[in-house]
Symmetry: C2
Subunit: 199 residues, 2 copies
């Protein structure tokens, strides 16, 4: 089917959204045009304002148009805990768990082959953040991938002389799954990290 | 989790998209901001251009910013067949079947209780369209609902004196389903509309 140029361009542009394929993009475009043009215009405005206005929090480096993001500005949070993640999406994931300490957001993971060393991902800023605060513990919540592990290991080494607890999120079998669907590496970690059951 | 105002407004605005809930909207907003701001700006522009520029085809009344839409302008289509649907989304659905005749798009279905009579949904324009062309057959592809049936029935009556074939899309069991999951009304239609099997 051929759409008129403006509709075709809208469908193409909608496909940049994660999880939106050709069919969903067509349905979205036609439904907005038929049923909610003012909603479509509000979305256009929200998009251009956010894309142009949102920067990074000066303290935790997550996405925010304010110099200090809501998490950093909130006085009720636990100032003794710092959670280090690889991306702003991970802040969101950790928030879901109920964690209410502070955050530091790296720009991805160390990747020497791509020329991404400690400076490129913001490790000097992390060390500065730790030096300027009074954290009792730094939780390294980088991804459970080879690169995420290496990044966590590097940071742990850098923090070792600072006299604070440095921890890594636990590896193990995910809740609610079936054991035979868990990959071997994860299961090996889960076995090695077994804990006594208190009854 | 609290997002800064621009991010929160973007998440809220994304929720007008069909099929996008709170979690998907958050993922979409953060990923665009992290990975594809120029794509986000292109989407903003495509949205405002389409919401402000797209009108309706003068001939078939589907969504189009051109006076005559690509389907109506295409000289290779079958001028003897007119398919009548309830919405531009339905044009898309019928195109998927390989139909390559012409279309007429009603504005929904007759709904006397809501004050939506023949004029409100564009039936005079449909009759004019039929009068000004040389269709051999008009296929009524309104929805298989009580209102869609009533609308098809009304149009069939109006077209009866015009000396052309008027047909209704067939009712029956959908392909690929299981018979015990088909609702009773559909199954009754499928039985009543049974056809001899040629072997
Ligand atoms: Zn912050
Ligand atoms: Zn048209």
């Amino acid at each position: 089917m051929s759409f008129s140029p403006l509709i075709r361009q809208l469908i193409d542009a909608l496909r940049i959204l994660p999880g939106v394929g050709q069919k969903s993009a067509q349905r979205m475009a036609l439904q907005m045009l038929e049923r909610d043009r003012s909603g479509g215009l509000r979305l256009a405005q929200a998009l251009s304002r956010a894309m142009e206005g949102v920067g990074y929090c000066r303290q935790c480096r997550t996405l925010s148009e304010d110099e200090i993001c809501p998490q950093c500005a909130d006085p009720r949070r636990d100032d003794s805990l710092l959670c280090v993640v690889q991306s702003p999406m991970d802040v969101f994931a950790v928030e879901q768990t109920g964690f209410r300490g502070r955050y530091f957001v790296l720009k991805g993971h160390l990747s020497p082959l791509d020329g991404l060393g400690p400076e490129a991902i913001g490790i000097p800023e992390l060390l500065e953040r730790v030096a300027n605060a009074t954290f009792a513990e730094v939780i390294l919540a980088t991804n459970p991938t080879v690169e995420g592990e290496a990044t966590a290991h590097y940071i742990a080494q850098m923090l070792a002389p600072k006299g604070l607890a440095v921890s890594r999120i636990a590896h193990g079998v995910p809740l609610g799954g079936e054991l035979d669907l868990v990959d071997g590496g994860t299961l090996a970690h889960a076995l090695a990290g077994r804990k006594p059951i208190s009854v």
